[in-house]
């Protein structure tokens, strides 16, 4: 799994690539925690490069969503790969997230 972070004026874009399962979800959680501790609360997760997304990865997305919403922010999903989208729907978590066709639209939504 690779994580690339790009700061914008009002939002931080986190692009996740590769496999997100119980072997790698901890790394994603640590990176998001680090950004939250820096004071960030508005995130766009670019999931276009996700090849595999298990419930361990989804758990990180939901716990982060809860944390940032409490802080007045949000976590929105952009450019989901079919695989990421299928995993989120299969887990019944799609009602939780605002999703956007591409990264630019997600950034502009904040």
């Amino acid at each position: 799994m690779e994580i690339k972070t790009q700061p914008y004026e009002r939002v931080t874009v986190v692009a996740v690539e590769g496999r997100v399962d119980s072997a790698s979800a901890g790394d994603l959680e640590a990176e998001l925690k680090r950004l939250i501790e820096e004071g960030k609360a508005s995130f766009v997760l670019d999931l276009s490069g996700v090849e595999f997304l298990s419930s361990s990865g989804l758990r990180v997305l939901v716990t982060t969503l809860k944390t940032v919403r409490k802080a007045g922010g949000d976590l929105r999903l952009a450019a989901m790969s079919q695989r990421a989208s299928d995993a989120i729907e299969l887990a019944g978590l799609d009602p939780l997230f605002k999703t956007y066709e591409d990264r630019e639209a997600a950034v502009a939504s904040f």
Binding site: R19, D21, S22, A23, F52, L53, S54, S55, S56, L58, R59, V62, T63, L65, K66, Q82, R83, D86, A87, E89, L90, A91, G92, L93, D94, P95, L96
Partner: protein, 155 residues
């Protein structure tokens, strides 16, 4: 990791391709588990989306064995057997952890902004992907059999 290509029983000789692999019960092995399911799904003639769904369901089941069966204890093993025929995949996951029946848990519902429950998502995914999910305790082993015989077209 042990790999063994099993000869098919005579009644299925013409159609079933059987493969059995045993992995250490560690999350670092999930990629290999996926690969074994991908190969079997390919033999079944499944499309890419159905193959991925089967990989996802199998990995959720193996993650359950690692986390809830062995509870993180070192030294456990999990065997993944695939039986592939055109249009029909059976994945059997066998472990010798204490009894753990993932089918005994009630399925959670879709989440909502007022109910962001994260537990139970893996088991929900398994049931939504697979056409049959069967658990059995045989001797001192857990057997979870997942069957897929219809194309996956979405949750």
């Amino acid at each position: 990791m042990r790999t063994a290509k099993q000869p098919s029983p005579p009644s299925e000789a013409a159609t079933a391709e059987v493969s059995r692999q045993t992995f250490p019960a560690e999350s670092e092995q999930l990629r290999q588990v996926c690969e074994s399911v991908r190969e079997a799904a390919s033999l079944c003639g499944f499309d890419e989306r159905t193959s991925y769904a089967c990989q996802l369901a199998t990995c959720e089941a193996v993650e359950n064995v690692i986390q809830h069966g062995y509870r993180g204890a070192a030294g456990g093993q999990v065997t993944v057997e695939t039986r592939a025929r055109p249009g029909d995949l059976v994945v059997e996951i066998v472990d010798d952890a204490p009894p753990f029946d993932p089918t005994s848990y009630p399925l959670v519902s879709d989440a909502s902004p007022d109910d962001m429950q994260v537990g139970g998502r893996g088991i929900l995914m398994i049931h939504r992907v697979m056409d049959d999910v069967h658990y059995e305790r045989r001797g001192n082993k857990n057997h979870l059999r997942l069957t897929k015989n219809r194309a996956f077209t979405g949750a």
